[in-house]
Structures are given as C-alpha cells and as structure tokens.
Amino acid sequence: MTDVVYCSRYRSMLLATLICGASLTSVLFGQSVGLPAPRLLTTIPMGAKVGTQVEVTISGEHIEDADELTFSDRRITAARKLNAAGQPEPNKYVVTIAADCPVGIHEARVMTRLGISSSRAFCVGTLDEAVQTKANTTLATAMELKVNSICNATMTQRAVDHYVFEGRKGQRIIVDCATRGIDSKLDAVVIIADAAGRDLLVERRGGVLDFSVPADGKYVIKVHELTFKGGQPHYYRLAVSELPVGAPIVRLPSTKPVNSFSWPPQGLKGQAELAESEPNNDRTKAQKISLPCDIAGSFFPAADVDVFEFEAKKGDVWWVEVASERFGLPTDPSILVQHVARTGDTEKATDVAEFSDIPSPVKVSSNGYAYDGPPYNAGSADILGKLEIKEDGLHRLQITDLFGGTRNDPKNIYRLVIRKAAPDFAVVAWALHMELRNGDRNAVSKPLALRGGATMALEVVTIRRDGFDGDIDLAMEGLPEGVTASGLKIPAGQSRGLILVTANQNAPRAVGSATFFGRATINGEVMTRPCRLASHAWPIPDSWGEIPSPRLMADVPVSVSGREFSPLTLTPPKEVQTVTAGEKLTIPLLHTRRSEFSGGTLQLKTMGAGFDRTPQFDVSLTADQSQAVLDTAALKTAPGDYLIAFYGGAVAKYRHQPEAIVAAEETHKKAVQELMAIEAEVKKLTEAAKAAATEAKPEADKAVEAASAKQKVATATVAAAAEKVKQATAAAQPRDIVDIVVSEPIKIRVNAPAGK
C-alpha cells in the first residue's frame, strides 16, 4: 500500500511537470523552418599547433549526442575526453595533430544521431597556442601574451578584451587576428596601445598591425567587435609574432570566398611568368609585352594604372582573365584595350574592348526579406572576357582597380592572363533553398546529413571559360551505402544544374567523403572538374539582421542518420518513363508518410532541364499516391533523355526523438524504485535505532545517517530523471516545421514522333 501511495505521489508530480512543460512548449514553438540539422558552431580552441595534442570543447545545434569528431584531414584525429570514472565528458575531445599535418584551415565536424554536422574551421599553425580562460576586459585584468604565440578567445559583449605583451625597442611586432576567415561573426577592431591603454595603432578592416616598438616595455593589445557585439559566435585567434624588418607578412590562414572556385584555370603555373614593372602608369611609360602573357601586378599606389602595350593582328581572338577579388581581396579590376595608331608624334587611340566583372551565372539574392535567389555570388568583380582584334597594330591595355582610387595597399595584387582559347569550366554547388518563410535562409547552411527516405537537392552553377558552351554532367562518387546521387545536368548554353542526393529508407547510419564533379566533352576530350561545395558559416533565421558569410568547403561529406526518417518520400517508378514528343506523360508518385502534416496539399514544382517550366501542381498530403502530368507539347520538350524531380515546401508535425521519452521514463521509473527502496530502508533503520539498546545505539544511528544520505542522492536522481522526461517530452511535442520535400529522381525518355 505504501508503495502505491509513493508511486501515485511521484506520478502526479511528474504529470504536473509534464503539463507545465507541454503548455510551455505550445507557447514557444511557432512554425519554424528546416528540420533539425546538426550544426557544429564553435570549437574552443579554434586551432592547435602542429604536432601537439589539445583538449577541444564543442558547441552547436542538435549535437547533444555527438560521438565522433572528425576533420577533413586525416592527420588530425580526436577521441572523446574521459572523466575520472572513464566516462566520456560531454562535448569534450582530445585532438591530436600529427607532425606532418599541413598548416592551414581544416574542416571539423561531429557525427550525431542526425548525421554529420555542418563544418567549423579548425586551424593548424606553428605558433604556441594559448586560450583565454577568464575575463580580460580591463587594463587591470589584461591577459599576458607571449610574443610568437596565438590566443584563442571569445569576445565578451559590450566589452574590450585586453592583452599585454613585452616589447623591445626596435622590434617589429605583427599582430594579426583571424575572425571571418575562420567562420567567426566577429568584425574585429584590433588596437595596440601603450601600457596606460592609450591607443597607438588601430586596425578595423581585417588588416594586420605592423608595429615598430618605440621603447622597451609593456604594450597592450585591445580587441573588440566593431559594434561591440559578443558571445559564442564572436570568437577569434589573436596572433602576436616578431618579424624581421623588411620581411613579408604572412597572414593567418583564411577560408576561401565562394567565387574563388573559378580560379585558377586548369594548368596555370603557380607563379606568373612576368611581373609588372613600374612606372607603367601612362602611355609614355607603357610596359611592352607580347601575347600570350601571364603577369603578376599590384594595384599600388592609390589610383594606380598599369599600362601594357602589345602588337596584335586583325582577327586574332584572345581571352583575358584577371584574378584579384577571387584572392579574397577588396578590389574591382577593370581593363580597357585600345588600338593605337601613331602618326608622327600624334596618336589616335580607339577603344577595342572594356572588361569588368564576371557576372553571376544565376540571379543572386537581393538580400531582401523574401527569398529571390541564392545568397551566393559565383560571379566576381574580376575579369574573364573575349578580346577580338579588329585591326593590325599596336594595342594598349590598361588595368585599374575601380576600388583603388584612394587606397595605398601593395597587398592588393592581381594576376593577368591573356591566352588563346582554352575552353573549360568550373563548378560550385550549394544546398537548394526556396521561399519557405520570409527572412529565413535555413537551407543555405545545411550539412549533407540525410534522413532515411530523404532526397536533398544541391544547386550547381558553372563559370564557363573561353567559349565552352556544351552540356556539363554532374555526378558524385564515394557515397555511403544506400545513398545515390543523380545529376540534373547543366544544359548547353546554361549555367545552372542540380544534383539530387537520395538516401533510401533502409540506408544504414554512415558517413563518407564523396567526390563531386562536373564532366563535359570539350573538343572531343572528356574533362572532369571538381565541384566545390559552398555553405554559409552560420544558420540565418533572419536575413534582415544578418549579413551572409558564405565560403567554400574543403570536402564533401555525406551522411545518413539511420535513426530518423524523412517525413515524406515521393517515389516515382524506377524505370525510365517514356513519352512521345507532343504528348502528355503521367507519372505516378507513391507517398510514404512518416509524419502528420499541416494543410491538406503540397504544391510541387518541377526541376530538371526540359520540364522545369511545368506549371505548379498540387498533390494530397493525406493520400498514399498521386500523379503528375507533364505536357511535352506545351513545354516543347525535344526528344532525348531527361532527369527531373518534383519539389515543394511542406509543413510537417515534427516530433523530435520521441524514443527518448521512453528511455527517459524508464530511467525515471528505475530511479523512483530505487528511491522507494532506500526510503523503506531508512524507515526500517530508524525504527531499529529507536529500539536499539544503549550500547548498540551509536551504531544504529550511524546506519540511519548513511541511509539518509543515500536517500538524498536518490531523491536528486529522481528529480534529474523527471527533468529529463520533461525535456524529452517537450522536445517530442509535435512542432510545425516547414522544409523542402524533393521527390526521388525520375528518368524520362522523350521519343520523336513516328515518322520524324
């Protein structure tokens, strides 16, 4: 009877907490965008010295159950950190960087219940490493930093971090701060001040401080965010090093901007054959060159104009390419080519061509509230264009930086290549996004972490080089078991394609590093080019409040959860669907639903060349099957083989890890039982102590005391277990989450009508 009473009491307590939790949940959860995806957001520290071992603490979204911490370079390994009891400590790893690991930036990710997480930059360097361990927001609490070391730190909001180093007169000290280039949200302001904290030298544009120490003594480095933001996403690595006077500065490594995927052209030498030679600022001092050429130059000093002259023949066609912005520099190169006709001392210059930007292959988001294009600019302020010579004779080429009128920075370099046509292409991809809710850009930072039965689409764009205009096929290799990739090619003359990565429902939990490439036949030769993957460093729930920060990834990891499944799978027939051009094709779709949905219908669009202008159509979210009708007459689809898919946005009643409730309840039940047993024991011992003879009393009291202590621990365990149940129950409450549903790919053959 007693047991029943106890049980009843605990159950009602639990019920009360569950009710509270449930009501809280319904208030907190509105419709959100994107099914939970694991995201690794920070590692502390953000890097380590080559050949050392370091303890790393991670944080992120949906990585509570993370196990493996992996890196894009196999020479960095990690093991869970174990506590004294030999149990893994949550979110802590011991990372080992082999002595032969390349210095630079590597990708760090964790494997979770939902699959592989998004990446976080992890730096490997040669300097001694330090970690900010306590607040250093005043001069008095400044952290001591040795010269030739690097400190990993997180910016405190509304504060200025202070460091102090010892300088010797005449020493050249370089202070560099890695932030955006290692995925941080920090726009750093770095100041060198005297010992009293008075500013001496300031850098606010992500540059490096080159400081000549005026006198022996202590110097202060102050770091803060431009607008004094702070918190976890605002981390940094602050390096203080000594460099001989005159030696070139090597910046801390940085991730690559998205548009750098198109540089360099295949086969280009590491070093240019020629260097620009100043003064070459006007026509009287033009530098003589001959074509083809490969020149390294600099937009320096301010308003620099570099002028080159070459002879060319009418009808010659050259391709001009300049890289500068794609090096990650804040430049905007511009070229003017003129034909020069000289008569005596007079000359007549006639414009032949002007070159400026490489346009984005697809419309880039205007960064408005509504989604109107990918927030990735695969184009560039650099140059890639065709130069057709119209007259024999002397030609003059002048290159300037449209952003360089007032800027004096020799680091703003360029590389100018003028070559005969070498048709080629470069490809880059990112997760497909569509308008789901205003302002949200969830998908653009998603990892390739597939749920069973899910298909994820990647948008692929190309920069075509030197007149290449043919088809580009897209493919992935090295995928985990049960995962397939289907490339919806980039058609001839176009710039955009798609690739669908599908995990079948029974695909086992796994992760693999895939090879992603584009393939084309150019001048009869099959050319394969790697496709780089781009992602935003952070999830962007509100595009108005956040400036996007996209970058290229070093690798293409693909994973399958094995534990969670897609809310809806749209499965077309596996076999090729055939249709005669001019007729309609009906495609049956099998719906595998694993969730409830808000709303009764799903509006589908069609992706894939030849059919992407199919009008939107609705399918039922409650039916088990539907069909799509494609009208090749209206679409004017030419005979040929096609690969397409359907996609749309659906609001699932998502339940997060409902199995966790059962496990938590089981744990809680056990804890309650243990507690009840201990309470009974205490009661028994108490009564025994009361009845004990005088000589046995101390011993009996001791036993009561020990049992009471156990009871306290057990009570706490019950409370913690109840909290776990509460959390698991809250998390598993159905939440409206809108996400992109992509059907499995559909192969179509359009036959020519009979007699044609």
């Binding site: 509304r158 500013d199 300031v202 544009r205 905007d332 952003f403 007032t406 800027r407």
Partner: protein
Amino acid sequence: MSCSEKEFRRRFLRRCLLRLLIGVFFLAVGLLRTDAAEQPVSFVNDVVPLLTKSGCNVGVCHAKAGGGQKGFQLSLLGFEPQEDFESLTKEGRNRRLFFGSPDQSLLLLKASGQMPHGGGVRLAANSEGYALLRQWIREGATFDSGVAPKLVSFEVQPARGTIQRLAEQKLKAIAKYSDGSVRDVSGMALYESNDKAMADVSERGLVKISDIVGNVAVMVRYQAKVAVYSASVPLGAPVENLPSSKNFVDEHVFANLKALGIPPSVICDDATFLRRVTLDIGGRLPTEEESAAFLASKDEGKRDKVIDELLRSPDYADFFANKWTALLKNRRDDESDTVSNFAFHAWVRDSFLANKPYDQFVRELLAATGTVIGNPPVAWYKRVKEPKQQIEDVAQLFLGVRMQCAQCHHHPFERWSQDDYYSLAAFFSQVGRKPSGTRGEDLIFHKRGIATAANMKTGVPLKPGALGDAIPEIAADEDPRLKLADWMGSKNNPFFAKSLVNRYWKHFFVRGLIEPEDDIRDTNPPTNPALLEALEKHFVASGFDLKELVRVITQSRAYQLSEVPNQHNIVDRQNYSRYYPRRLQAEVLLDAIDRLAGTQTDFANLPPGTRAVALPDNSYNRSSQFLRVFGRPEAESVCECERVQSSSLAQSLHLLNAPELKAKLAAATGRAERLAKEDKPAEAKVRELYLAAFSREPRPQELKTAIDYLNEPGTAANANYQDLIWALINTKEFLFNH
C-alpha cells in the same frame, strides 16, 4: 560730370516731376505720354530693379524658386528679365497689365493694395515706383533686353572706412553701364549688414553703428552685382602692456586690437588654461591628478607640453570625430545602419588619431570606393546619395561655399551661376553603384566615362569645373572626384584651407573670423583678414596638419587670454581681446557631470564607461533626454548650427532636478557616496571636488562655506556631498568653458 551722368540726372528730375504730376494732377497723366515715349522706361534697368527693391521677387513672394504666390512667378531677384517679362505680359490670362487703363492693371492694383494682396502694399499709388510701372505699361510694356545699356559694374561709396561708435554713414550705390553711363542707384539697391548688432542699415543705405567695436560689413546688391562696405569701428582706448607674442596668431590679433584701440585681458591662470584647453582639445575635464600635477609644476613650457599631450591622446581623436561625424551626417535611420555608422565613425576617429593630413582625409572621403567594411568613407555615399546633395555638402563643409541657391538660379549674394553649380556636380557624375550583400548599402566605384552634368535650366551638359577654376580635361578612365580632391588640396585653392582654419578658429574662439563659418564669400569679409590669411598659409605649409593647426592656435597668447574683461573690452565681441565663455556642449557636459559625480552613463550595446563624446552616431539621442535637451545634433545637416548651444528653461530644470541627475548624485558607486564613507578630512574632500569640477583649489571662503555645509547636523553625510556636487554642477564656472 560726364554726359551720361547729366542724362541720368535729367531723367531723374523728370521722373520726380512725373511722380509729382501723377500725385497731384491725376487726370493730367495722359499729358506725359508723349514726353515719356521719348524716354521710354527700361524694363531691364528700371522695372526689374524696382520689383527687386519692392521685394516682389523674393522667395516667399513671387519668386519662382519659392513657388510664386498665386501663380505669379518672377525670377528670383530679377536675375532672368526675359522670364519676368513673359510672366508679366503673357501669363495670368493677360490680366497683369491693362494697356487701355494702366491703373487697372492687376500688377498695380495688387502692389498698391487697391486689391487684396497677401504681400501688403509694396508700392503706394502715389509712389515714384508706382508711377514708373504705370509709365512702362502706358508706353506699351516693351522688353528692352539687348537694347538697353547693360550693367557692367557696381560699387559702393565709400568702400571702407573707420567710423566711430554710434555714428552714421550714408552709402552711395553707383551703377555703371555698357554705354558709359553712370547712375546713382542708392534708392534701388538692397543693403544687408553682416552683424546687425554692430551696424544697422536702412533701405536707403544709411548705416547706423552701435556701441560695439570691431569690423563690420554691409553688403550692397543691385541686380546681379554686389559690393561691400567694410567699416572699422575702433574703441580708441590706449593699448599698452600687450602680452608678448607667442606666434603669428598673436601678432595679427594684437595688431588688430591695437588698430581698434581695444586693450586685451590678461593671460588666464594655469587652472583656467588647463581646464579650457582640455575641454577644447580632449572634450573632457582634466582629472584631479592632471590638475594637481599641472598646478604644482614649475615648468615654464608646461602649457605647450599639455597641448602636445592632449593632441597625442585618443581623447582628441574622439572629440573631433564627434564633431566631424555629425557634420558628415553619420545618422542612424535603421538598425541596418549600425555597422556602417560604427565603421565610418571609427574611420574618422582613427584618421584624427593618426593625424592624417586634412587634404588626404577629404580625398579619401570624396573619392571613396568599395565597401563600407573595406573602406568606411564609402558610408558617406550611403547617407548622401545624389550628386546635387554631394556637391552642396562638399561645397559648404569643405569649401565654406553655399551653393544650394545656384541649383535653380544665379546665387543672390555670390558670383555662382547655375553653370558653376552643375559643373561642380559633374565631378560626381561618374559615381557607380552596385548592390552589396548588405541591405541598403551599395558598392561604390568609378564608372568609366566622360563626366558631365546637365544644367537643369538650359539642358547643356557641362564638364567638371571648380568654382570658376579651370580643370584640365578629365579622361574617361580617370575618376573626376580625384581631380576635385587634387584641386581642393592644391596650395592656391582659395576656399579649402581657409574654410577649415576658420572652422577650427571658431572651435577654439567661439566666433569664426568669418561668420557663419561655412558662408565664405566676398560679401562676408573676415573680421581679421590678415590673421585668416596667415592661418591659411600656415596650414597649407604644414601639409594640412590638423594637430599643428590646433597647436598653433592653442599655444597663442590670444587663446590663453582671460575671459574676465577689463574696463574697456567688455564691448568686444569679435576681436578676441578676451576669451568668450561658452556653455559646454551636450556630450562634454554629460561626461563632465559623470566624472564629477563618479558615475557612468549607460549607452545601449556599448561598453560601460563609453564617454558621450565617443558615441558613434545620433541614435543615442533617443534614449538620452540629457543629450537632446542640451542640443546634440541629429546629424541631418552639414551646418554646425544644427548643434544647439543656446540656453533654455528645459536645460535649467534638467540641471536642477532631473531624475537622471539625481540618480547620478545618489549612485551607490558615485563620488558622493564614496566621499561620505571615506576616512579623510572634509577639507581634503572639498579640495578634491573643486579640482574635479574646476581644476583649481577652492578659495578660502568657498572652502569654509562647503565645510560648514558638510558639518551641518541633521543630514546624512552622503546627502550633504550630493548637495555639494549638485551645487558645483549648477555653477556657471562648471557649465561653461571659460
């Protein structure tokens, strides 16, 4: 007397006679027609000046630029006679002139008040002007442009002179015409004093000098010409025992004082100097430690040293960045402006910290390209988007020239035409914009092409021209803004350096050598031209070194004169014979109160302890009633006048009993609380307070009063200290830089 003068006199006498006849013998008007027809009234030289003198063609009345009341539109101040003629004779359904009965002309009926007229009676029916207009109508209202002699020059007599206080001077306005004729147009000219407190001038050109001494100018306008009468009003007191000159500033200031007979005040004491110069350069009060050390120092060069120390300090950069960012419109209208505003403010501040030459600073701003994060002066192009707005701001801020009027018509007080305006705008015609990743922000670049801007009126495309100076041909590849910057930074530029030194002079001396500081024109002469020229030369020779300019000004004895007047110079308001006290500006005053009260004002999202002078933009005004009440600008204008320095009842009440002030006084971590708890003699505490507030030791009587108050029984010690600090804050000695 020349023939032409005789002719004018003859015509003048005839018109007087005509007026008499019209006034007395109304019916006899018709008799004049034959005579008048022989000497027709000139539309260009008679009618238009009359309309101007009568105020018909000013902005609020019938000037087209102001909209033109009731659809009757005249060119502003008669600069476009052809348009005026069309308006009078052809528009308004031909009702404006009635040839059959000139007196029934709407023009005359309205002007004389015989019909309701919003502008009141401008020409009485018996006036000479009325008669003139009626005669012109009677003669057929002809347009004589191209026929009538052209006005070729204009002068005022006398052009300059020395005049005693309370004396009068009649000015004579003389117009010279292309046919050699000369005419006294004193009655038709317009007069305006540049300092009405010093000199008032009547409609007929009679100048009445007040009892204020110094230099004053009267601008005299006639048609499109201007002339200036410059008067020196001496005090005539003996000027003896002038301080020794520290530099050329003193030589020119003291020479002027000698010429005017104004004896300067004595040199101020060390405490006053330290407080004054720290407020003026660093925008803050000296610390108690700084004051004590300075007062104790026997070093003869300590004043120069403290100036150098202040110029080295980040306080200088913060304070001057605060001044410039408001003028450069670093304004937050939307949350998305935050990053660009911080970046821009920081760029300005760092430029001053590094003592970037002023011409380079302006160059980087004008010709900014790229992104805001990569190149923060680009943010200026986010605020100031249109070429017209750009040239108006640039002209006013960096050249001291107000070009706004010339957008629509010839500048009324200046030589600037619409062609000058659009030639200047052409420098900004090749500013290209590309969308950036940041909402509301563009990438700025130079767009290749020949720079031109079309004159709004004529439609003629104009190449870049710099206020009358020829600019060499600018190639399509060259950014014209760089050429503008080249012109501005050239050694002989007549505006650039002058404008800056005048602006900085005003910063330190309260009053500019030219007032307003951004209205430099021939008709608004400086009060000490030699000094302005010397400052300008020194600034250019120094390589546009702003710190050197501040140094040479603040090291001068003139800057270090006491604010206490002697028996003579109380009347001086413009010759710098004494220091003119000025109320601390909003940010400085708030910081000063915080320092004295031992508190910090909390500004949203900024580190605790951020000073008000270091705020990046205007957005903090919204949350700070103090800053609003004391006139912190909203960065909407390039005019320093946006900062309100005048006093108001709200300010007094705020200082007396605003909850914000009370909270500071009563702060648990504040100075009052600390002093109340501190175990040291009351005298030491009072000394600390006086050093903190005034940078000086208390006088014996002040010390006694304070200690007596602190020792009064019945009140908690912390309340007594709060009261004492409150009292110090509410003194003029605290509220003013003196």
